[in-house]
């Protein structure tokens, strides 16, 4: 299994955004912004999520300018566990317990770098449970994406060039 070497992107570094439940408004906006920032740094971006989370992305990015590929969350985990798919970077969106489960699972299975993106009203409590991550993007963001956007602007240049 080669990290970031699947499909037609052989040789390119790739990232996956593992989306949580889209009930918190900032998720889709931040996912697309993060995809934009990563794309500017030369990474191909995929998203993994449930149907609603993927449809929110697909409707907002109909031509795939930011997100190249959309994967069902169960298919993603099945392929990750089977060694058929992996990425250099996995940004796991966390605002509830399920997000913590997904992040821990990706951390256990990937050969790439896991960066939790923690938000929502309980973000500090959630962030306290991802101590295994070398870098975490976190902010108190529910409706307003700007605190999380600012953290992405601060962290991503360092993450992409140093991890």
């Amino acid at each position: 299994m080669g990290i970031g070497r699947e499909g037609s992107d052989t040789g390119a570094r790739r990232a996956v955004l593992v989306l949580g439940c889209p009930q918190v408004p900032v998720q889709t906006s931040i996912a697309l912004y993060l995809a934009h920032v990563l794309r500017l740094r030369g990474l191909g971006v995929s998203v993994a999520g449930n149907r609603a989370a993927r449809h929110l992305i697909q409707v907002a990015d109909p031509e795939g300018r930011y997100v190249r590929e959309s994967i069902d969350i169960d298919t993603y985990f099945s392929q990750l566990a089977g060694g058929e798919r992996d990425y250099a970077f996995a940004f796991v969106f966390i605002h509830n317990d399920s997000g913590l489960v997904y992040a821990a699972s990706v951390h256990a299975m990937t050969q790439g770098v896991v960066i939790p993106v923690v938000y929502g009203e309980h973000y500090e409590e959630m962030a306290g449970q991802v101590s295994y991550a070398r870098e975490t993007i976190m902010a108190n963001a529910v409706h307003n994406p700007m605190p999380l956007k600012h953290r992405i602007d601060e962290v991503i240049p360092w993450v992409v060039s140093n991890l």
Partner: protein, 92 residues
């Protein structure tokens, strides 16, 4: 685990945290096994926060299943082969 619905199962806990499911297994089942994320059960990988506990009671297998919007479910399904595989320590 998109096709978990195709496996006949009973829901023991629903909309729970992963920790609550782990505690339930410890409290209610004498025989349980620790598996790593990605261990396949019913041909699908189990995901979770380590340690992931899967219980066996007779031919029944009790395991967690997490959904993005509904938390973690603790499910019981009957499958002699899966129970035997856990007992014998054969990993996926």
């Amino acid at each position: 685990m998109g096709c978990i619905e195709s496996v006949k199962h009973e829901i023991l806990l629903k909309n729970a945290s992963f920790q609550e499911c782990r505690d339930f297994v410890r409290a209610h089942f004498k025989e349980h096994y620790i598996v790593a994320p990605g261990y396949r059960i019913f041909e699908k990988p189990v995901i979770g926060i380590p340690p992931i506990l899967i219980a066996v009671e007779g031919d029944d297998v009790i395991f967690p299943y997490t959904k993005p919007c509904y938390g973690t479910f603790l499910l019981r399904a009957t499958d002699r082969d899966e129970a035997y595989r856990l007992k014998s320590g054969v990993n996926a």
